[in-house]
Every structure is written in structure tokens, then in C-alpha cells.
Symmetry: C2
Subunit: 399 residues, 2 copies
């Protein structure tokens, strides 16, 4: 039959990134296209031990329905972690979500009426763009440099779009660029949000994975008026299969979030919430995160060294101080899709930049991931990538 | 600050049912207000055993990101279960959700444009009403009798509302009434959906918990054209803390559901999906469900026997053949809220009927739950309830 979908449903079933991941998943291809945490770092034995304790000591309550805001002991653990990173908050300001994706979806559902403007970094996390579009947002991209969103461009966008509901930013080790917003800009973005009376949606999945440079406080740290909705997740610091994230916001907002959450999925997996709360009570999650930082930092250095060796000097790439991604920009109006196909011919893959842009994409841009790959594979893959880039640039010059 | 929410957000933070559950949760009160499965029936030891196997044999993949449609082995198990209940389907027609609440939310998001009509049973599951309202649905209730939705009333509603997107029904052991739609009406509802070109959303969380009468095939069994979206859950047959449900629908719809699911929470908890798949592979879930049927059936009979003894003869109540709920209707335009307060004074509680109605509620109606209470408590509670009903009816007559 002919289904009559709502306007929120994407017209096509096309999944360009899914298609890329399929091509990149071929066994001969060295793929930098993914965005997965390194599974060899998952603390399987520790999780198994605390899971057994959950079954033995609180099994029936962990398996029963629970409250929408989330398991109170887990929220207490999160409050303590937040204090470490410069956010002083309370259990009543924290809601557990079914991962950051749900935090983004609930925020979008809560604020966006069709036609409202959402300001985003350009490029940004593509699945956030999908969500904002599904609720009818008018997406406005703001250019970035190595210090994050450009503040003059942001103010211009705010002036031009008085119907802006919120600014969506990933200030630390951004997806896809790996860039980090400077302290000065974090303070400035709050100032602009105050001036133009908009909300800031601070998405911080990677902030804890810093392997170089100096820690920077979250934007939420500078928030005086409840204007920042902060969200993070256990996906990158523990394991993404257990879909658990959290939101920190003004209590008035958490009340609304909790109502929306109840309608969305009643509450997040209660067994998993108990497992993670117990893991944090019995193990040193900071020591675990240091292991992740160390492994990812080493892989990033190997990748960057290989890029310095094999990429043409004119190619620009970000130097992330944490997170999972490097952003590459090739000069000269290179056709990213043609480059992708050349790379596949050389058995190496990336995610082309296009889907990360809210509107028109900058050609010749792409994202590389270094978190899941062994060092020797990184070296071989980057060498192949360098060859493909050189070929493509040479062909572009000829045309 | 003054937050500017979207039109999807409820204006108030009032949570009438939450308030009732709080009052009902006082230690002196015997509460029939909840809707929880009996925790003493959760197969904790079996789940612990299979969880250890998941960690030992597939821990890293269970803890990693997975695909939005859900763990293929779990979907295979569901296909086999569906065949038992009269739905012949394939893995490509099944998507895992984060519980039935998410299945309802995704369906609503997928089909409802503001102003579209959704036809519902009257009364019906209140959290479905909240979801439909949040997407701007025009809710139209159809009256029921002991055989479910009245088909003439349904056709009248379909004629009156040509902008109907779907009919939402809980055909087996409905929440809140405990009623089951007859086979003849299941066939008729398909016929009407064909005639008026609408979708049917068949919500079946309780269908497996039949403790009396004869099995009736799901509406989906009679679907020839992909018009029925069937949804069920592990919440009532296994454990609700692990938020896992499923949708069975036409492959074209499952593709869209999967896109929407990816935006909503990427995928459901992967660890829990592995646990449940392994539980179903190694244990006899039908034997487990028989235990639930037996315990709930006994509690229902005890409750009904006590109602026959202590309720005035003029009070009508449903006789469910399965599920968790009995629906009570008191004649004579009784004020349900006044009755609730009298009951609390007598230390017994229920959920008043009002929030289950899409529009105006029938006075003197309420829902009783029998799944979580020991038999002696059921007897005492129903005796108290009988006293409170008699008092309230006597007062109403005086006025």
C-alpha cells in the first residue's frame, strides 16, 4: 500500500553514510570511516563482575520498571564526575538518557517548531542535523577555524535569524573536525546567547578523552542563567552498546525532559544503569579513561606522523588534542566523491565531508577516525590515502 | 530564564498519574494503582547465567555499537515466536525498539502531522494518548463493549474524519479495561481500514499472558496488504527493566522505522539484546510465560471473587481472560475523584478512569491491577474498596 508519512520522515531511504560504511567494510579496505571506540579497551571482566553483583543483590529491582529521570545512584555518580570537570550540579539537574542521540532528539522535540532556526557548527555531527531537520528546523551553519566556531560569524547569524531557538555545539574534539573551542570563545558564546536570548546545546561526548594540551572547562561551567543544556555519554568512556547518556540542565528543564523521556521510552535500560552505577562505585573510571587517552593519543600521533610523511604539503588537517577524529581539507576544489572512489580503488576509506554540512559542503573535505585501528594499519592506510590524494590532485590540475 | 518550548511540550508539569502513584505508594495503602509485572517471577538466575555467557563469548561485540534494526539473532527468535501466535513474517519485517513506548512514539512521529486524526479505543493506554497529543493529533475515541471497540461506532468515526492516519488498538486484555476484541471484530477492523485506507497500530503487550478462554489470532494475522503495524514487548513476559520491544511491519515501513530509530537512540541496548536472545535460545520462554499466566490467573480469580462478595451488585467490572487489569464502572454519575479520596481514607488505591479517556471521561470508572499483589492483600484491599464504594454511592444518593 501507499503509506502517507508525516513531514518529519525523510523522503528517501538513502543512507549515504551507511553506504560508505558498507563499501569501507570490505575486508581488503583499511577503513578510517567509522567512529567506534576501540573494543579491546572495554572493561569486560570488570563489567561482568559488577553485573553478577547486580543480579545477586538487586536483581529484581534492576529488572523492574523504574523512574524516567534515571537510577538515582547513577545520577549521584554523574554529579560527582561533573564536579571534576567544572560543572557543579545536583541530582535534580541530571536526567539519564538512552545515549546522546536521544538527548539531542528530546531537546530538538522540546524546542523546535517548524521554521525555527538552529545554529550549528559547519561542519558538524551529521545525525544531529538529521534530527533537527526531522522537526522542521531551519539550519544555519557557522564557520569554524582551529579554535572552533567563529564568534563574529555566530553573532551575524544570530542577528540575521531572530527566530533562533538554540546553538548546537560540540566544543571539545568536535565531530567531525577534532577541533576544540577556546576558553575565550566559550565565554563569548555564553555572552552572545544571553544577548540574543537563545539556548546553548553543549554536546560533549568526547571531552573526557583528552590526550594532549590543557583541560578546558565546559561551556556549562560559565553558565549563570540556566541557558546551557549540557549532554554527555558513557559511549566513549565505557561502552556504547549500553545506550546510556545524560543531560545536565536547569531543574525546570529537567522536569520537562523527564516528561518527554517518559513518552519516548519510559526510562533507559534499568539493568544497564545499575551495572554502570556499580562499575563507577567499585572501579576507578578515571584510570580506565587514562588508558583510552593513552591508546587514542598514540594512534593519533602515528596517524599525523604518517600524514606529514605521505600527504602533499598543501593539504590541511586538524591536530586534535583528544577525541576520535581528524579533519582533512584538500585545496583546489577537489571533487570529494571522485577522491573517495580513487581511495576505494587503493583499498582505503574515509567519510566524505558533505553530509556533515548543514547546507553546501566545502569540496575536498573528509573525516578520518583513528580510534579503532592498529598502528601498522594506520601507517599503511595513510600511505595509500596519500597516493590517492596525489593522484586526484594531479588529475584535477589536468582538468 | 523563560524557556520558549515547542508546541509539542505539555503546558503543565502536572503528572496526575504520578501523583496518584505517590499517594498509593504510602506504606499503609493497598494499591491496585500500579501496572507492574510481578518481580518474584523474573528469571533472575537464568538471566545471570546467560549474561555471563554473553560477557565470556561475545562481550566486546555486545558492548559495541550495533545496527538500528536490532541484533539479528534476537529478531530471528522473535520471528519464531510470531509464527506461534499466527503471524508469519521474516527478520526484515522486524525492528527492535526500546520498549513499546518507543514503538508508539516512532509510529506517531512517522505518521502524524498536526491536525491529523488518530482513532483510539475509549478508554485506552494513557501514555499513548500523551504521545499522539505531543505530535498534534486530533484524538477521536470509539466506545467499547466487552468484545472491544464497537465496529459501527468505528465506521462512523472513520466517515466523520477522512483525515484519519491510523487506528490505535490494544486488542488483547486491553489497558485499562482488560477486554479482548473478538475474532469477528478483528476481521472487521481490517475490512474498515481497507475501505477507508488507514493504518492499524496493533499494540499487543499482554497477548501472551492468557490465563482463560481461547487464543485469538492478532489482527496482524488477517492483514493482507501491509496495513497493520504490530508491536509487542518483553516487558510483561520477561522483565520491563530491560527496555526491549519489537515492531512487525511491511519491509517498506521497517526501513523508515529504522531511519527514525537511528535518529531517536541509534539502537536499543545491545548488551540486553544479546542477553534476551541467549535466554530465548537456552531456556523455554513459553514455560516461563505459563508460570506468569498461572500466577496472574489465580490473582485475577481471587480479585473477582472478592469483588463479587464485597461490591454492590450494580457495579460492573470486566472479566479479563489475561493481562494485568480489571476495569470497574460504577453507575449513578459517581465523582471518581471523591471516590478515590474515600478509598485513600480506607487505605486502598486505584487509578481513576479520567486520564485513559481521549476526551470527556465516563464518571465512576477506574482501573485495578492484580499482577503484583499477594492474594491475602487482594482480599483485604477489595473489601476496603467495597466499603468505600458503598459509602460513596450512599452519599451520592443523598445528594
Amino acid at each position: 500500500m501507499n503509506y502517507q508519512f508525516s513531514t518529519r520522515v525523510p523522503k528517501t531511504n538513502e543512507d549515504p553514510v551507511g553506504n560508505i560504511l558498507k563499501v569501507a567494510g570490505s575486508s581488503d579496505v583499511i577503513s578510517f570511516a567509522g567512529g567506534l571506540p576501540a573494543p579491546e579497551l572495554f572493561p569486560v571482566e570488570a563489567l561482568k563482575k559488577v553485573t553478577n553483583e547486580v543480579y545477586d543483590q538487586e536483581g529484581r529491582s534492576a529488572l523492574q520498571y523504574s523512574i524516567a529521570a534515571g537510577y538515582p545512584k547513577l545520577r549521584e555518580q554523574i554529579v560527582a564526575r561533573m564536579a571534576q570537570s567544572g560543572i557543579n550540579t545536583t541530582v535534580d539537574n541530571v536526567m539519564i538518557s538512552t545515549g546522546s542521540q536521544q538527548s539531542i532528539d528530546l531537546t530538538a522535540k522540546m524546542f523546535i517548531n517548524p521554521g525555527d532556526t538552529v545554529i550549528v557548527e559547519q561542519p558538524t555531527y551529521l545525525c544531529a542535523l538529521d534530527v533537527f531537520r526531522s522537526y522542521g528546523a531551519n539550519l544555519v551553519g557557522v564557520e569554524m577555524d582551529d579554535d572552533g566556531m567563529k564568534m563574529m560569524a555566530l553573532e551575524t547569524a544570530l542577528q540575521a535569524h531572530p527566530n533562533t531557538k538554540f546553538i548546537y555545539t560540540i566544543p571539545s574534539f568536535q565531530n567531525p573536525t577534532g577541533r576544540t573551542m577556546s576558553v575565550a570563545r566559550r565565554q563569548k558564546v555564553i555572552e552572545l546567547a544571553e544577548k540574543y536570548d537563545v539556548i546553548i546545546l553543549e554536546d560533549d561526548p568526547y571531552g573526557a578523552i583528552r590526550f594532549a594540551g590543557t583541560a578546558v572547562a565546559p561551556i556549562k561551567h560559565f553558565d549563570q542563567s540556566g541557558r546551557v543544556i549540557y549532554m554527555s555519554t558513557f559511549s566513549k568512556i565505557l561502552a556504547p552498546g549500553m545506550r546510556l547518556g545524560w543531560i545536565v540542565a536547569d531543574t525546570a528543564l529537567i522536569k520537562k525532559f523527564t516528561l518527554m523521556k517518559q513518552s519516548a521510552d519510559v526510562h533507559s535500560d534499568n539493568l544497564t544503569q545499575h551495572i554502570v552505577a556499580r562499575f563507577m562505585a567499585e572501579y576507578d573510571i578515571d584510570a580506565h579513561i587514562q588508558k583510552i587517552q593513552s591508546v587514542y593519543g598514540q594512534r593519533e600521533r602515528v596517524m599525523v606522523a604518517a600524514m606529514a610523511e605521505h600527504f602533499p604539503a598543501s593539504v590541511h588537517y586538524s591536530r586534535p588534542e583528544g577525541g576520535l577524529f581528524i579533519w582533512v581539507e584538500i585545496p583546489g576544489n577537489i571533487d570529494t566523491q571522485a577522491l573517495f572512489e580513487t581511495c576505494i580503488a587503493h583499498n582505503v576509506a574515509f567519510v566524505p565531508g558533505d553530509p556533515f554540512y548543514p547546507n553546501a559542503a566545502t569540496p575536498g573535505t573528509f573525516r578520518l577516525n583513528y580510534s579503532t585501528m592498529a598502528e601498522d594499519q594506520i601507517k599503511i592506510g595513510i600511505e595509500r590515502l596519500g597516493t590517492a590524494i596525489k593522484e586526484t590532485m594531479a588529475n584535477a590540475v589536468k582538468v
